[in-house]
Amino acid sequence: MTALFKHDKPDNRNVLDHTAQGIIGQPLTRPEGILKVTGNATYAAEYAFDECLEGVLVTAPFAKGQVNSIDEKSVSSMPGVIKVITDKRLTARAAQGTANEAPKQNVCEVHYWGQPIALVVAETFEQARDAAKHLKFDYTEDTDAIFDPEAADSETEDGATQQGDLAHAMKQADASVDLHYSTEGHASAAMEPHASIAQWDGDTLTVHASLQMLNYNITELADAMGLKEGKVRLLSPFVGGGFGSKLGVSQDVVAASVAAMELGRPVRVVMSRQQVFQTIMRRSETTQRLRLAADADGKLTGFGHEALVSNLPNEEFAEPVTQSSEFLYGGENRVLQIEVARINRMTAGSVRAPGEAVGMPALEAAMDELAEKAGIDPVELRLRNIPEVHPSEGTPFSSRKLAECLKEGAAKFGWDSGPRTPRMQREGEWWIGTGVASAARVHNVGEAKARVTLQADGTALVQTDMTDIGTGTYAILGQIAGEMLGMSRDDVLVELGDTKHPRGPGSGGSWGAASSGSAVFVACEAIAEEIASLLGAAKDDLTLKDGIASWGGQTRPVTEILDGKAITKIGHYEPGDTEDDYAASSYGAFFAEVAVNQWTGETRVRRMTGAFGIGRVLNEKTARSQCLGGMVWCIGSALTESLLFDPVDGHLVNCDLAEYHVPVHRDVPDMDVILVEERDGAASPIQAKGVGELGMCGGAGAIANAIYNACGARLHDFPMTPDRVLAAMPAD
């Protein structure tokens, strides 16, 4: 019943190129799309359960210390108030992605401003919100909170690279740069706030929540609650955006669960927008040092990328700033290192493209300065530095389309490879300029299972706990099954986001499509094999198309072969040796044109082209949308997004969407996306790689380089806000 595929060798059979249905890769509209555009998609907070109570979290108004007591009586006589939950099981932080165990509990110990400390439950939301504001508690604030990463103690992360003699290479270089960059913290700011409705029937805890990785979240929740995993069910069929913020079980999930179990009624807990900003993962701010040494031909001889990031005490996650720097460009003398400072800000964790989102823009901005010093066109400089093998591990690369992306992107954008002196183009009070950057994002896969049923009526059902957070999972899993089983996508029903289905790794690290897509593929291969054996045909001789099986010159409707019976298989994809044998990554290139205002320093992105190599494209429409979304994030991280903390009490000052500036419609021009033809059998048996994060891995660097090319302001601090641009703008 279960078919296993262990990925020990690249799968270069390219099966999906030989199937007959012809829907794989097609730009089909999303099957769940009609629900979304008509308001019929139901998100976590939107289930109507009888007798449902409303919970509102109370959070700490200080950054470090101890809650000594909570005065439940201060609110218990307020209208509608049922209970103040202060249970030991409440969680103080959200779990990190793939944590698989409860995050820090004991909410009385406070480590960051805005940490949840209690839940007020009432009959209505308005009553609970009011009571939460009035809840009195006694606390002791410590005086030793640390807010400045530069002033805090730091540790060096494992896995640093020290190779050759970088200092010597810098001295010997024909051209070199030694630059310091900073990036501010980022918030995922998914449009749907974190929300849960928990139900307890005396035996099983059922929670509708907004989560990305149910397979891990169920363990985290069970562990937090002291329940067996078999007594917990999680459902997230629709998730209103995640971007890393919903990788691990969040505080609302556990709080709603505790309350539901204690009160015997369903309990809904929805975080306010401010609470999402204050208590959910931030991307760490970074300071980075880039050292690049090149010979007379512009070939890198030395490569240094060091970063300081931060997190709370006892958190394992450290923003992996140098992740793609390890292999993107050559240079035999290498230093790559990350230090983590321990400070009292909310948990630092994964925000879309952890690592590359901030590491790549700094690297790509430094490459631009190196190109200028070496007198080489920046596209050409990148092309000259694509290494043969992984520069420190010596492993071969799997399929890599970096050069193609740079060339095709340059052609589409109309890149001018002539001299690149700033201030060459002007329109009124605006300087116009262009910039380029490479894109890279490591490829990840995880163990995944999916159940596929070929129904007696010839339709198919795909079931997995995998989530669709806007990424297109419903679309692509249906397309893979339809292609493999020979039917239109409309004949495939895809059920997601329920832990009672076979489990996959969830949505995160861009690994969902390659992992769960492969599980569906493996199940379908097993079904096709069974059909072949029912027909006595050789498996490779069987073709399935539009519900008809063809083999050895014969044809027969699949429903007839099934003869009233269904075939069900569980596909099991297991990562194997290919993960270590190859350096697998998706690649791309960004080209941006900006206008910078001479008087205000405001930057407007006028157009942007992105070319990406993501392995096999499973659905051209949804893949393109992922890339567009990433490029929009490039604009935000280049120009506007930064978490700002009060240096005195450590609170997040801009904890809402009015003050934390995500790009809006008018900030975003039309953008070109090129998907370069590619198959990567080392990446997955469907030859696909991840696409959800690649679109924001470096593009902010292209914008920074375009700002310099436009007006001559060379900035080293992201985001490049008008004040910073003005200050860096050379006098006429």
Partner: protein, 166 residues
Amino acid sequence: MPISINHQPYDLPDDPRVSLLDFIRHDAGQSGTKKGCDHGQCGACTVLVNGVRINSCLSLAVMHDGDEVTTIEGLGTIDQPSALQKAFLEHDGFQCGYCTPGQICSATALIEEIRAGWPSDATGDVEQAPKLTDEEIRERMSGNLCRCGAYPNIIAAIREVAETEL
């Protein structure tokens, strides 16, 4: 007088603190309208009140005595989606879908606003009727955030429908 939501009458809530948004989502059980911020900062809660778009989180339900409220559910259905709903689907003008009802309600009102000749920040000469430029659409849609970054596809969908309707 009751409040009408998609032509269905509902009694006003007893609790004056209930926002129009929570009333629609909770009391009226029409959860197509979304809450993204509850502070008028994201546009997810956009609905039409007597044909004009507002952020329903910034308004109290009790202020809408006798008003006709149209939400995403009132614009079209699964079987009979509106032209904008179809265009959003075709152009992939969404990803997670959470901002989408607000985007579509806003876009529906935007077409009427341009038809009525209302100027915006992007309108060069306010004496003249606004033209249906991309910049004009982008400006008028800028109160509707989309963190998934579906903006270029949203504009393509609105442009297509507005061009045929105006």
